[in-house]
């Protein structure tokens, strides 16, 4: 993954010549500069998103045309996976598990937190770099190792992990070698996130520019701040759980293996006494905050872009910040709403569905504030803004369809159906990923000194918006018809699933078309590095501090240490000379 080299360096050279001289490797590969690391994270993240997307497109073929040999590609994947092009259930399970793992832990998180966090946060708070640059490099390379391990697991005998991205026990304990690799990979990824998180928190607290009080933070910084705390405190339990599952698999312990477990007619000889639910608790103790790790940075990006392109201050900035903090806090005590089906009693079910309903309120506050922020603005519909605005309804659909799942009674029929898939994909795919796309278009000029092409951007946007809905809207229908997720044939074997089969075809074609609409983006991304329209330091007439740095910023970011004189969103201030008053201008 030396791609970062193609993206970052060129512009940098100019600035760093008359700076300290570093060799190629120190400057672009093992760099401690938060901007280079940020770009490394972003490109890694984007590549893994693409890879996870490819896994999903393979699955979509099997779901649309169960058992039909896949032309061309199918035969390339080998007898053990797709004999004669027909997908074996085991391979489908591999794809399912790895699609989830890769999209969440190697795609969105590295891009949203590692990428945007690293590149933007220090700039937005007027810091010369992250608080611990070496640690920063370490956490990237730890992620990199984790990614390699995950990819490698596809080639071990028996293939990659097949127990779903949640790796529920005891199934995952008795599963094949791939699961062990999955666990080792996860431990690398977790370490990476922990180091990154404590670095972000320290940076934000300590390296704020003079005058940049917490309530003068851009919303994006707040989002990253809360996210970092979620990562810092929610990830360790999963690390512990990972170690325990590793012990179960390697050292033959029984943390997650109950007594008297029978596998295909044969009783296991282990002593048992473990608790399979323990894994689910520890897993969801991370994985629910993780949901907010996926969405909060997205919200942050959207807030920045909306304020900038409506040329208005954010409506209810403070209430948004407090909601954010509240969401972060609550997200630690709602996790068992993923476990209503595990036979918990009514008392705890009531407790967790209450906390779940409570946590939905601040999310709605944030979304509402963002929507009201549009009101009466003179909106500039450039590509970043289009993605940002599209985020609102998409995330809205995802969020609202989540409420029934938070209620014990409604969750029981819907649990583990395609309805759930549709729900969280609306949050993450057209939600978070649109926000991230917006962010890429928005901060690209800061990273390269050039804008991405608008026309290509708009094509990318319209195509993606249509396709995303074509993919996920049908899943609500399929799910409400009661079809379970994780069926390797989309339920073709069941009579009751027959009426929904054609919706899978729609969904699949949506997915493949979506792939086509990413081509303009990929082209645009690389083409604009050299050919994009040259722009100044502040192409969007934005107010936040990162735009006071040269584009691209040199090593050390700012020519003079910046200072914050006012809040982040002073747009269209009555009586001001121009329609925006930057934070950094006295």
């Amino acid at each position: 993954m030396s791609e970062p080299v193609d993206v970052a360096p060129k512009p940098h050279v100019a600035h760093e010549v008359h700076h300290e001289e570093l060799g190629f490797w120190r400057k672009y590969v093992f760099s401690t500069d938060h901007k280079v690391i940020g770009i490394q994270y972003s490109v890694t993240g984007l590549l893994f998103l693409l890879f996870g997307f490819c896994l999903m497109m393979l699955m979509r073929w099997q779901l649309a045309y169960p058992g039909v040999p896949l032309p061309l590609i199918g035969s390339l994947l080998g007898e053990a996976r797709m004999p004669g092009g027909t997908m074996l259930p085991e391979f489908y399970n591999e794809l399912g598990a790895m699609h989830g793992t890769i999209m969440v832990f190697l795609g969105v998180v590295p891009l949203a937190v590692g990428g945007f966090g690293n590149f933007v946060v220090p700039l937005q708070i007027g810091a010369p770099d992250m608080a611990f640059p070496k640690l920063n490099m370490l956490s990237y390379w730890s992620l990199f190792l984790g990614g390699i391990t995950m990819l490698g697991s596809f080639f071990v005998p028996g293939g990659a992990a097949q127990s779903g991205w949640t790796s529920y026990t005891p199934l995952s304990v008795i599963a094949g070698t791939g699961q062990t690799w999955w666990l080792i990979g996860m431990i690398f990824l977790i370490t990476s996130s922990l180091l990154g998180a404590l670095n972000f928190i320290t940076t934000i607290i300590q390296l704020r520019a003079k005058g940049l009080t917490f309530m003068r933070f851009p919303f994006f910084v707040w989002a990253q701040f809360v996210t970092a705390f979620l990562l810092l405190l929610a990830f360790p339990p999963l690390e512990a759980a990972g170690v325990m599952q590793l012990m179960d698999r390697v050292a033959g312990t029984n943390f997650f293996l109950p007594s008297g477990l029978v596998v295909s007619g044969q009783a296991l000889t282990n002593v048992g006494g473990g608790n399979p639910l323990l894994w689910q608790h520890l897993f969801w103790f991370l994985a629910h905050p993780e949901v907010y790790v996926l969405i909060l940075p997205g919200m942050g990006i959207v807030a920045e872009i909306i304020a900038n392109n409506t040329r208005k201050p954010l409506w209810g900035y403070r209430s948004m910040v407090y909601s954010l903090i509240f969401v972060g806090f609550m997200s630690f005590i709602v996790w068992a709403h993923h476990m209503f089906m595990t036979g918990m009693g009514t008392t705890m079910a009531a407790f967790f569905q209450t906390t779940t309903m409570i946590i939905s309120i601040p999310s709605v506050v944030i979304l509402t504030a963002l929507i009201i922020s549009l009101w009466g603005g003179s909106i500039r519909f450039n590509t970043p803004m289009l993605f940002a605005v599209a985020f609102l309804p998409m995330f809205g659909i995802g969020g609202l369809t989540g409420l029934p799942l938070g209620l014990n009674i409604a969750d029981i029929p819907l649990h583990d159906t395609y309805y759930v898939i549709a729900h969280f994909h609306y949050v993450v795919a057209p939600g978070t990923i649109f926000a991230l796309m917006a962010g890429i278009y928005y901060w690209y000029p800061k990273a390269t000194g050039r804008k991405m092409n608008e026309t290509l951007g708009k094509i990318h946007f319209v195509g993606s918006l249509v396709c995303m809905n074509a993919i996920f809207m049908p899943m609500f229908i399929i799910g409400l018809a009661g079809v379970s997720r994780r069926l390797f044939d989309a339920g073709a074997a069941y009579a009751f699933a027959q009426p929904t089969m054609h919706w899978n075809v729609v969904s699949s074609w949506g997915a493949w078309t979506l792939a086509i609409f990413q081509i303009p983006f990929i082209f645009n991304f690389f083409w604009s590095i050299r050919k994009g329209e040259k722009v100044g330091d502040n192409p969007w007439q934005a107010t936040t501090i990162e735009w006071s740095a040269p584009s691209p910023p040199p090593h050390g970011n700012f020519v003079h240490a910046p200072q914050a004189y006012r809040g982040p969103y002073e747009y269209s201030v009555p009586g001001a000379g121009k329609d925006f008053v930057p934070q950094y201008e006295a």
Partner: protein, 196 residues
């Protein structure tokens, strides 16, 4: 280009980056061991019967180890104190002692492990031993890590004292915080595993 507040404190927080960093790290460590303790409780509560630690494990070795680890904590803090008093040589002695105590702890633990393994008491034997090996094993890794860091400050890292004593003192304090945390974890491990 150097990062502000690595050596001097930031006025409004009154802290250096390193101080905040290490405490955040310890916070995550609390959650790590917390999860393992939670698992221990859950499995023990669910178990029909659970052996008293001292019926399987050697309390005297563990008591000895507890004393060793506590002593190492004291020498660690003394090492830092002697830096505060600008007595570099006493620092060397105390830091050396800390590392040696750590080594003693590991050696004793090694004999404990090998003894159990000879008796055929391995992690897969029962869940008590499973949690015992997992918790103490993870703790041992922490001890080892702490020793490595301390050894660095005792040896090559000590050069910093010449150029930037303040920074060096801070770094020793931070590695000390980690070392005390490892001690603290053991203070809870000892009764839960050996005495209950």
């Amino acid at each position: 280009m150097d990062i502000p507040y690595t050596v001097e404190v930031r006025r409004d927080t009154g802290l250096t980056n390193g101080k905040i960093g290490i405490w955040l790290f310890l916070a995550s460590e609390v959650m790590l061991f917390g999860a393992l303790f939670a698992s221990y409780i859950l499995i023990r509560v669910g178990a029909p019967s659970w052996p008293r630690g001292d019926t399987i494990l050697d309390v005297w070795l563990a008591t000895f180890n507890t004393i060793v680890l506590i002593s190492s904590s004291v020498t660690m803090v003394m090492a830092w104190a002697s830096l505060m008093r600008h007595r570099f040589e006493t620092f060397r002695i105390y830091m050396g002692a800390t590392i040696l105590f750590g080594l003693v702890f590991l050696i004793v633990k090694y004999f404990e492990y090998s003894h159990h393994i000879h008796l055929g008491e391995v992690p897969s034997t029962n869940n008590f031993l499973a949690i015992y090996y997992t918790l103490t094993g993870l703790h041992m890794l922490h001890v080892f890590g702490g020793m490595m860091v301390n050894a660095y400050f005792w040896g090559p890292g000590a050069k910093l004292w010449k150029t930037n004593p303040q920074w060096f003192t801070n770094r020793v304090e931070h590695s000390g915080l980690f070392w005390h945390f490892v001690d603290l974890v053991w203070i809870f491990l000892f009764p839960t595993l050996y005495l209950l």
